[in-house]
Symmetry: C2
């Protein structure tokens, strides 16, 4: 089977509706392309749970807070289609920016609360751009289930909140983060790292794991638990920490004492490259 | 045939999906209840164009800028269901506020541009509340077509903009304003007028018509055209003009000189009651 590639909204919608009318359940994997094994895990889950799997490939300009990051983002649709074919995807929707935004969108979807800390604090407008493009994609590609990686944990919380608040008829499925053998979470941005930066990038996951370990030992003090991770990052002068927080897993609000289901989430810079990661865990019962 | 009344989102969605699966096209008439002949015209159009007609009856708290207006809004679902039965509606969805907003919505849909002037200027947050509840209703009650009155002209422009920007799979149908014999546009709020206020309320339509007449005569100067209407309103000391504008019919931006398709739109106060109305017309070719 070859994956079909469509470029227009009309074609994409018509293919998905045909599948639905034929009685197929539909699964959507929204991506910005440059597909890797992390996306592969989302696609595999979608294939197991739905009959007709759609991957959208769209580098969404309105979610980038820095123009340079938008421009540097790798784009190779042909390679992505080959990846999708190898993974048994039925349809790839890869629109041009002008197809998605024929005029600048006057309509924006704002999700407050879950989007205010972590990346929301450091990337103004980012989650508004994410929520807006996902609202569009959910309408263009009506899916029974949509698949998101836990690596982008706050994005997952934002989309869950949006879907619940606006009653989107789609089930959001979270898929665990895929990591390299040394723990580094897969990300399109990893390929921008120099060999030296790549060598120390796994410190991020080690730091998050150290905090998770402290919480597993029963530590409830957020500052104390975080210090176990920050101490690791501090040993690497090439790493600049943007944020390092323990937040509620659903509401993404900093929590202290550490209670319930939490995410330990961080963003670091290695040179000009920004990496994010998080670990989900549960505090010990009091 | 009796109109079926449902109160929950799950029941409403399931009824509409059943109709769609049976091959019926679906039409949605979103209302705040207190149904009158204006709503009747929307329903009639929906019945002519679609197989299964749904009326939503929900006084949406988040679109009211004044608590007193929200509280005063007439609510009588039983009467509305009788009205719908008489008009051949298939389904009424009348949820409680707690069904629509189990928690305060963290997600809000902002439509800029078209929403900034006219009512948008005087009712902060109003169109955000309208857009947000319509996004919810479009998801809960998937419709091929949704029907809106031209009387709420800016609301119509906002919903058209939102549907286009976010690719909602629904066609928006505009239905001409229904008026009493003396020209007053039908509105639930008319019944709050005292007999004295009701007697002069038609001045609003007369004023808009006077401007429309000036434009038909070829007047391109917005201030001069508006003056023909404002002069009429100024004769009534009980009328307080909130705004009185000539705007582009699609973008709702004040236009001067008067060109293309325009809306002459006004809001006035009679005591504690606010009335809006508008006339759509086209400027003479230059």
């Amino acid at each position: 089977m070859t994956t079909q590639l469509v470029r227009t909204i009309a074609q994409a919608r018509s293919r998905v509706l045909d599948a639905r009318h034929a009685g197929f359940t539909t699964g959507l994997v929204p991506t910005m392309g440059d597909l890797h094994a992390g996306h592969g895990a989302l696609i595999e889950r979608a294939r197991r749970q739905t009959d007709f799997v759609v991957v959208s490939v769209f580098v969404n300009p309105i979610q980038f807070d820095r123009a340079s990051d938008y421009e540097k983002y790798a784009r190779d649709v042909q390679r992505d289609v080959e990846f999708c074919t190898a993974h048994g995807v039925d349809l790839v929707f890869a629109p041009d920016p002008a197809e998605m935004y024929p005029t600048p969108s006057q309509t924006l979807v704002e999700v407050s609360g879950v989007s205010e800390h972590l990346c929301g604090e450091f990337r103004p407008g980012h989650f508004r751009g994410v929520a807006t493009v996902l609202a569009k994609l959910f309408h263009i590609l009506p899916a029974d289930r949509a698949y998101f990686g836990e690596k982008d944990g706050q994005q997952l919380a934002v989309v869950r909140r949006m879907v619940a608040d606006l009653n989107f008829p789609v089930t959001i499925v979270a898929v665990p983060t895929v990591r390299d053998a040394d723990g580094l979470a897969l990300s399109s941005r990893n390929q921008r790292l120099t060999p030296e930066q790549r060598a120390i990038a796994p410190r991020l996951y080690q730091a998050l794991s150290a905090v998770s370990g402290k919480i597993a030992e029963g530590c409830k003090d957020a500052a104390e638990a975080k210090e176990a991770g920050l101490a690791i990052l501090r040993q690497e002068p090439l790493i600049r920490v943007e944020y390092f927080e323990i937040v509620g897993a659903a509401d993404m609000q900093p929590c202290n004492p550490v209670e319930g289901r939490v995410a330990i989430a961080a963003a670091i810079w290695l040179g000009e490259t920004r990496l994010i990661d998080n670990i989900l865990t549960a505090a010990q019962p009091s």
